[in-house]
């Protein structure tokens, strides 16, 4: 009673943070004796751009498959939005369907084709809509895969190292594309990557996964385009969590030190 009298202002609640679209609580996953996800906790807010860093084999894909509900469900505390879409590292277009049919895969209704064409237009692939997937370049195939995910207007967009196999220039163009699409459609987005620069350039928040646990979490408050000042320190921090001690050295000088 006395407390309420002493500070009545505290009763006014803060504006509620938005309900997360993704929430994992103590989620574990093991293949036989190997524990791949180890009581992992993760929330993603609506419209948030999260990058997930991790060494090869750290469990990134397993986490992403969990978020895509691709593995048989287990008794775990997982909340996922109804509409999700995934872009895989290898574009995984069905080779026997033309590009637009791949984008329209699983869409219902008569407007499937116009919707697919609009999505392809948006990713800059309007001139290849009738092509066979095996004739696409790596970058074009990933554009088609992004269109296929986008056309579903997902609340949660999952990208599993989608740019790892692309050359540097194509990768830059794809980064710009993904950023533009995310800003226009605002899905919650989880980008799995092992590229620290990519994570820092694109995400609102960077997570580091190691042996099935999230071992680091960094928020990037500076807006994209003016992050130059913070990335140097952040890069060193993230790389340290990935097991590489840079200590401010340039990559060119690093190999000698780790030899």
């Amino acid at each position: 009673m006395t407390e309420a009298l002493r500070s009545p202002l505290q009763i006014v609640p803060d504006p509620l943070p938005p309900e997360p679209v993704v929430r994992l609580r103590d989620v574990s996953r093991a293949f036989g004796a190997t524990v791949v996800l180890d009581s992992l906790n993760l929330s993603i807010a609506p419209g948030e751009f999260v990058a997930l860093l991790g060494r090869s084999g750290s469990g990134k894909t397993t986490l992403l498959r969990t978020l895509a509900a691709l593995d048989p469900p287990q008794a775990q505390d997982i909340r996922l939005p109804g509409s999700r879409a995934t872009v895989f590292q290898d574009a995984r277009l069905l080779p026997w369907k033309r590009v637009w049919q791949n984008v329209a895969l699983g869409l219902r209704g008569r407007d499937a084709r116009p919707r697919a064409l609009a999505a392809l237009e948006e990713v800059g692939l309007a001139h290849r809509v009738d092509a066979w997937p095996l004739t696409l370049s790596g970058g074009e195939a990933q554009r088609a895969a992004i269109a296929r995910a986008l056309v579903r207007e997902p609340e949660l967009l999952l990208l599993d190292e989608p740019f790892a196999a692309l050359d540097a220039l194509t990768r830059m163009k794809m980064h710009a594309l993904v950023l533009a699409l995310w800003q226009r459609h605002r899905p919650a987005l989880l980008l799995v990557t092992h590229d620290v620069e990519e994570a820092m350039a694109l995400a609102d928040r960077v997570l580091v996964l190691d042996r099935g646990r999230i071992v680091a979490e960094e928020r990037l408050l500076a807006p994209r385009g003016s992050r130059g000042a913070i990335v140097r320190d952040l890069r060193a921090t993230l790389l340290r969590h990935l097991g590489i001690d840079v200590g401010g050295a340039a990559y060119a000088d690093l190999l000698e030190r780790h030899a």
């Binding site: 290898d90 026997w96 095996l134």
Partner: protein, 264 residues
């Protein structure tokens, strides 16, 4: 630096490199030897007499009528065999229980040469058309089953995953991913089935036939007419080639997306 042979031949057409040359030469030598009497007609008829016999057999209707009988056997046997093979492969490839039930039986069947079943078939079906068609069907079923089954099992799980992640149900997955993915394997199986059914046709027609190419051959043998025998052999070869061309045509139509064809 020497060019690869195919590149060189387009630069400067060398008549001695023509692929027609050696078969042509063989025909000439064969004809010459027959004319000189080195090869008597009852051993092997000359190409020219084979040609005239062919024209005459077409004209008299002997060849068309008996060819129709043989074709009917081969086509019916192939259709029945391929249909059963496809049905079994689908049942075994798409359902675990189907696999557990069907695959062992097919593997058992695989160990028995179809030709060895002839006596049983004759006891069951007599020496008429049924036995011949059954033998062809039984032999044609196996390559269709084995290839399609492997094709269904070999469909890329990563594509299945992707399609599932876009909300495709089981029926849609089978329709959009499994069957198109297994189609190349099915066509390979069909191609084998075709050549096997021609093979089985030849064999089955030796049993006892009152019509068909085998009947013509048997009569020719008794009359020592090697020209007729060679004509029939040519027709058998033509059957195989036509079937192969047919499957190839289906392949180019339905597998337009395949890398080899896409690049062409």
């Amino acid at each position: 630096m020497p060019l690869p042979t195919h590149a060189r031949s387009t630069l400067r057409r060398d008549p001695l490199q023509s692929r027609w040359l050696s078969p042509l030469l063989l025909l000439l030598v064969w004809e010459g030897l027959c004319r000189l009497g080195v090869i008597p007609a009852h051993t092997l008829a000359a190409p020219s007499s084979v040609g005239s016999t062919l024209a005459q057999m077409i004209g008299s209707g002997d060849l068309p009528i008996n060819l129709a009988v043989s074709l009917r056997r081969a086509i019916l046997g192939l259709i029945i065999g391929a249909t059963v093979g496809v049905a079994l492969a689908l049942a075994a490839g798409l359902a675990r229980r189907g696999d557990a039930w069907i695959d062992p039986l097919v593997q058992v069947k695989r160990t028995i040469p179809v030709v060895a079943l002839t006596p049983l078939f004759i006891i069951w079906f007599g020496i008429g058309e049924t036995t011949k068609i059954a033998l062809i069907a039984f032999a044609a079923m196996l390559p269709v089953y084995i290839n399609l089954h492997a094709g269904i099992r070999g469909v890329d799980v990563r594509l299945m995953d992707a399609a599932r992640s876009f909300g495709l149900g089981r029926a849609a997955l089978i329709r959009e991913v499994v069957l198109p993915g297994a189609l190349p394997a099915l066509l390979t199986g069909l191609r084998y089935a075709l050549s096997i059914s021609v093979l089985m046709l030849v064999f089955a027609e030796q049993i006892n036939a009152s019509a068909g190419l085998g009947y013509l051959i048997n009569n020719a043998r008794d009359a020592m007419r090697t020209d007729i025998i060679v004509v029939c052999l040519l027709v058998y070869a033509l059957l195989g080639l036509t079937g192969d061309a047919l499957v190839r045509a289906i392949e180019t139509r339905t597998l337009a997306w395949c890398p080899a064809l896409v690049e062409a």
